[in-house]
């Protein structure tokens, strides 16, 4: 039967109508679990869409909140008894809301930053390489950086502008493995994922430009420490055009360096470590074992698993544009994830996503000191760099 809906694909309308409203998604939605507000859970969103499909309700500014109140973690999709691919549906609805001018201002501001400066923070492009190790930075500044190399390291906005440790550690590991790499330096811009999350039609044209720049390097593989960039290149760019190179997340590449004995450890990291699965790497790309293998190969590390892990992992709360749209809620979810780690006695939470790291740190800080103790949040590259043979 045809539905009168103008913007949702037929298969999505079918799924929405098949949502039995059982409410089981409440058990998986990280936002619902901290707000206990049904309108923020997936069932609430599907109930709204049923009325939109019926024609009793039109999408509006009033309804936008429910669709942007989502970390895009995909947990509901995986555990939905009715087989509703809610995260895909929400992406589609966001596109329509954006087109209708109903997207929240806080997220539109992100889009503006990207179009003006090329990165989400609206920072000066030149500053993106300030965090590079001095020799590499000098190469970029003097134009001595290789134009072409086998591997392109794509750093991502957060590591470039907001994190002090990820890039230096990542480069340290790549140098130790004698990887033939280059970077886009001051030419590196946002991959465009935030535009996609916002529902912006500007994503395609932005992605095409980034793609051209990447191709100019002639690299055979792209390695990024950002789970969001990884998912974007791996899944979203394939719809834009042929990338012509292999995409790897840094944890995959670092695992390879370890198994091929290109990097060696001689220092112990005597810590109880747990791994937080970033949604964009885990549920979205099914990369679960490589990071765990890496951690278990580091001398001194006692690996502990959180109860909610892999497909069942709790989102850090920072995805889906939530850090811009509802920062307080993003942090509240992160605090719950940090508590998951405290429960299993971890000293360190390792993530493979700069956005998760940033948000988990905020979450940890929101927990009283006596409860959170000395727990640290680190990127995988930081932990590896600590154990590298000097």
């Amino acid at each position: 039967m045809e539905h009168g809906n103008p913007f949702l694909k037929e298969e999505y309308c079918e799924q929405i109508l098949k949502c039995s409203e059982c409410g089981f998604c409440q058990a998986t939605c990280p936002l619902f679990l901290v707000t206990l507000r049904p309108a923020y859970n997936t069932r609430g969103k599907m109930m709204v869409l049923k009325e939109v499909i019926d024609g009793t309700l039109a999408l509006s500014q009033d309804l936008a909140e429910t669709f942007y109140a989502c970390t895009a973690c995909q947990a509901c999709t995986y555990f939905c008894p009715s087989g509703v691919k809610a995260h895909e549906i929400i992406e589609e609805v966001r596109k329509e809301l954006y087109e209708e001018g109903c997207a929240p201002l806080s997220l539109l501001a992100l889009g503006d930053s990207i179009s003006k400066t090329g990165n989400v923070f609206g920072s000066d492009r030149e500053q993106g390489v300030d965090i590079y190790p001095p020799p590499l930075r000098d190469k970029v500044k003097t134009g001595a950086m290789k134009k072409r190399a086998e591997t392109l390291l794509f750093m991502g906005c957060l590591p470039s502008f907001m994190d002090m440790k990820i890039i230096p550690s990542f480069i340290q590991v790549m140098d130790a493995g004698e990887v033939d790499y280059t970077t886009l330096g001051t030419e590196e811009g946002c991959c465009g994922f935030p535009l996609y999350l916002l529902g912006s039609d500007g994503f395609d044209s932005h992605a095409k430009k980034v793609l051209e720049r990447i191709k100019e390097t002639g690299a055979r593989q792209l390695v990024t420490p950002c789970a969001g960039c990884y998912k974007t290149f791996k899944h979203l760019y394939s719809e834009i055009g042929d990338m012509g190179l292999e995409i790897y997340h840094s944890v995959q590449h670092m695992e390879k360096l370890i198994t091929e004995r290109r990097i060696h450890f001689d220092r112990e990291v005597a810590k109880k470590v747990t791994y937080h699965d970033p949604c964009d790497l885990g549920r979205a790309c099914m990369v679960f074992e490589e990071p765990r293998n890496v951690l278990k190969s580091i001398p001194g590390v006692e690996y502990v698993e959180m109860t909610k892990n892999r497909l069942d992992a709790r989102c850090c709360g920072g995805g889906g544009g939530m850090q811009a749209f509802k920062p307080d809620l993003a942090v509240a979810v992160a605090a719950e994830r940090v508590r998951d780690a405290l429960e299993v006695g971890a000293d360190v939470i390792v993530s493979a996503c700069p956005a998760c790291k940033d948000n988990l740190r905020k979450g940890a800080r929101s927990i009283p000191k006596q409860e959170r103790g000395e727990i640290k949040i680190m990127d995988m590259a930081e932990l590896i760099a600590k154990a590298l043979k000097q």
Binding site: M1, L17, K18, S20, E21, C22, G23, F24, C25, Q26, A27, L36, R37, P38, A39, N41, R43, G44, M47, V48, E51, L57, D62, L63, E65, T66, C80, P81, S82, G83
Partner: protein, 459 residues
């Protein structure tokens, strides 16, 4: 909603704990049933005092209040049929006390079933009545609907575990029922009156639950039957064999073919599959019991009998039962999940009758059920966008209810009356019984502000 009432509600719970935003009204317009109506607002109380003040206000201004847990109910029990405000109890979600010594747990109504299960596990205890929605459903909702589950035959339902309650009455007064004692015959059993009252008499704000030591191990088996009748007879015989299984489930041929088609489980294409589980403290004990059950199955012409020898094999056996809910949901757009229940001896007749009703009305009925306690789940699957199909589904439901009552059964074993079966109350209950129920309702709630329109109480 009148501005003065909205203002008064905000004063009680705080501005951030009241909403009349469209997205909230829509999300509170239904539960897991087919019923739907937007409330005028919703409140999130955090304390018994707030609940009391809200009810006081509602009683004075005569607007309906609909208490709600997780909204996983299947009978429309939390739909604002007559408007008013939804009182979402989910934020009163503290486990107040676990006393292994006294064998009890004291919880607020918003605690989720699984949350309590997790808290009890380290002590080696559990709260047995486990509804399929346990990972989302709240204990307040379980008590208000007297929820059941897979373990009913051996462990009973929620009502068997509620020792006492704190309830706010429609006039705002706070009532404490029962005690923390395992036994009490002091006064009327008001606790039981509130268990299963579907939020029509008062709002539950605290629950004292009896808890059980958790059996450490279990055994399981499955068997196929070429006729539904043989399966039903086998079940009936198991229940008088002296062994009480911790679960005894049936899946009919519609369920089996759906599972094979959509989940590739490779189940035998038989008329029915019966799954049994026994629990206890040693493998010898559970193994002995499961062997007795297998004997009964054999005597009733079972084939393809499988006995699980490990946790992994048990999981495999139960995969069919665990996946069936979702598989059925995906078959079409609408499903009436019924839960008629009959005396155990009438299970064979009821199963046969369900098949006949499906044929008579040309509707697809996939039946599963917790047969150890006579609780069937005939699920009528249809495309509600087609008015003819919807009508046939509704007519088939009518016949299911009639048959269950004819066999000395009941309209609902665990889902409740709510809106879905309100009109059928006279079918099961006498004029006298309904009069008494409606007088009880009037005694507690003379202004009919609490969850009006439910349970067929308005005569």
């Amino acid at each position: 909603m009148k501005t003065e009432i909205k203002k008064a509600l905000m004063e009680i719970v705080g501005e951030e704990n009241f909403t009349d935003a469209l997205i909230d009204l829509i999300s509170y317009s239904s539960d897991a049933s087919e019923h739907r109506r937007r409330p005028d607002g919703a409140v999130w109380p955090k304390t018994t005092d707030q609940v009391s003040e809200i009810l006081n206000l509602a009683n004075e201004h005569k607007f309906p209040v609909i208490p709600r847990g997780a909204g996983t109910g299947l009978a429309g029990g939390v739909v604002a049929e007559k408007g008013g405000i939804v009182m979402d109890m989910a934020r009163m979600n503290r486990i107040l006390k676990i006393s292994i010594e006294d064998r009890l747990a004291v919880v607020e109504p918003g605690v989720v079933y699984d949350q309590l299960a997790e808290a009890l596990a380290p002590h080696g205890f559990f709260f047995p009545p486990d509804p399929a929605s346990g990972k989302a459903a709240t204990l307040g909702g379980n008590v208000a609907t007297n929820a059941g589950g897979l373990k009913g035959a051996k462990y009973g339902t929620t009502r068997d575990y509620v020792l006492g309650l704190e309830v706010v009455l429609p006039d705002g007064s706070v009532l404490r029922t029962g005690s923390k004692c395992m036994k009490s015959v002091s006064g009327f059993d008001l606790t039981r009156l509130f268990v299963g009252s579907e939020g029509t008499l008062g709002v539950i704000t605290e629950i004292i639950l009896k808890i059980n030591p958790k059996p450490e191990t279990s055994s399981a088996c499955s068997a196929g039957f070429d006729s539904l009748e043989d399966a039903a007879k086998a079940i009936s015989e198991v229940m008088r064999s002296g062994v009480i299984p911790s679960a005894l489930e049936i899946l009919d041929d519609q369920c089996i073919s759906a599972l094979n088609r959509d989940a590739s489980l490779g189940l035998p294409e038989v008329a029915a599959i019966v799954l049994a589980e026994t629990d206890g403290h040693t493998r010898e004990e559970t193994g002995y019991q499961i062997d007795r059950i297998i004997d009964v199955f054999r005597r009733n012409r079972a084939k393809e009998i499988k006995k699980a020898q490990s946790a992994e094999e048990t999981e495999k056996l139960w995969a069919a039962r665990k996946s069936i809910g979702g598989i059925l949901f995906r078959m079409s757009y609408n499903m009436l999940a019924e839960d008629v229940t009959v005396p155990i001896s009438k299970v064979p007749e009821m199963l046969k009758g369900v098949q006949e009703i499906g044929k008579r009305h040309h509707v697809l009925i996939a039946t599963l059920g917790h047969l150890g306690d006579g609780n069937l789940h005939p699920n009528i699957i249809f495309d509600g966008r087609n008015p003819g199909e919807r009508k046939r589904a509704v007519n088939a439901t009518d016949d299911l209810f009639r048959l269950a009552i004819e066999l000395g059964g009941t309209l609902t074993g665990e889902h409740g009356i709510g809106l879905a079966k309100a009109g059928f109350m006279p079918l099961e209950h006498s004029v006298v019984a309904i009069r008494v129920m409606s007088e009880i309702k009037k005694l507690f709630d003379p202004n009919n502000i609490l969850n009006p329109g439910k349970m067929g109480l308005e005569i």
